[in-house]
Symmetry: C2
Subunit: 141 residues, 2 copies
DNA sequence: ATGCAAATGCAAGGCGTTTGCAAGTAAGTT
DNA sequence: AACTTACTTGCAAACGCCTTGCATTTGCAT
């Protein structure tokens, strides 16, 4: 197959073969505004790009996650979502009024991390923070 | 069955029948230091208290959650953990080594909340913070 | 072009959780 | 205490998301 796009170099650099499926998945992830599930990827690929097996989607995503190309988040509905890793430390504000998502780069974890190390000998390697509230347009009356 | 403990009143107040299993589950949750899985509860009940079916454990926990007696947290290993709701503001440490979950009452959100209000006029109503890392026993060498 | 390791499709299985149904039980009524 | 009824439970089957074993196909180094 020779529809390989510009992702070929990234794949090579990470020691992966450049295949149609992998390029298509990276493209879809890049085009997606929000994190998406494996099945959403699978359906979108099937409809727009090329037949693919769901297990291939999972295997590909797993590899991308292990290479730190993709971030996997387990949500409360039991489905994992995947997004490209842009190597920024960011968090999201979810407006419970209009469902808008706002990205912020603020992070309040710094001091807590040290205090956890001292108090209970827990070495923090990462964290997940989601903030809920009302955006400017949806402020309570 | 008449091993009903002091939880009878709580159950009544919430409109639930007081049964052996429900009392036992509440007791176990109260005795547990950290949030535990349904299966851990199930095994502990089977060994120490009384035979019970795993589906009964799940059904009971679901009801407790719906009555706000219990807090359910979905973790990255795909298993939900349950703990008594003490109506405190708390967060969870998830050990990526042994998958133990530790509850903490520290919260670093205070200042960020005010700064978000000032900077982008966002009114925070809630947040979810999960912290990943290595517990005392799993520290890297 | 050839050869081999890596990637894929397919079907089956794993695992945590849920559900339908029949039997059992709590607790109010008589 | 016996009756009544709705709630609770055990059991087995099924669910949904995800993983895995194996035969086949493919990328890519030589
Ligand atoms: Mn952060
Ligand atoms: Mn908090
Ligand atoms: Zn809004
Ligand atoms: Zn640990």
């Amino acid at each position: 197959m020779e529809e390989n796009t510009n992702y070929t170099e990234i794949l090579k650099r990470e020691g992966m073969k450049s295949t149609k499926h992998r390029n298509a998945i990276l493209l879809l992830l890049e085009q997606s505004e929000d994190p998406i599930t494996a099945e959403e990827l699978y359906i979108s690929l099937k409809e727009n790009t090329a037949l693919i097996n769901l297990s291939t989607v999972y295997r590909t995503l797993d590899i991308f996650v292990s290479k730190n190309l993709v971030i996997k988040s387990t949500m409360d509905d039991g489905k994992a979502r995947y997004e490209l890793n842009h190597h920024e430390h960011k968090h999201h504000l979810f407006c419970v009024g209009c469902h808008k998502v706002i990205s912020i780069e603020d992070c309040p974890m710094g001091e807590l991390q040290e205090s956890l190390k001292k108090k209970i000998d827990f070495d923090v390697t990462g964290h997940k923070l989601e903030i809920y509230g009302y955006c400017h347009n949806c402020k309570k009356v």
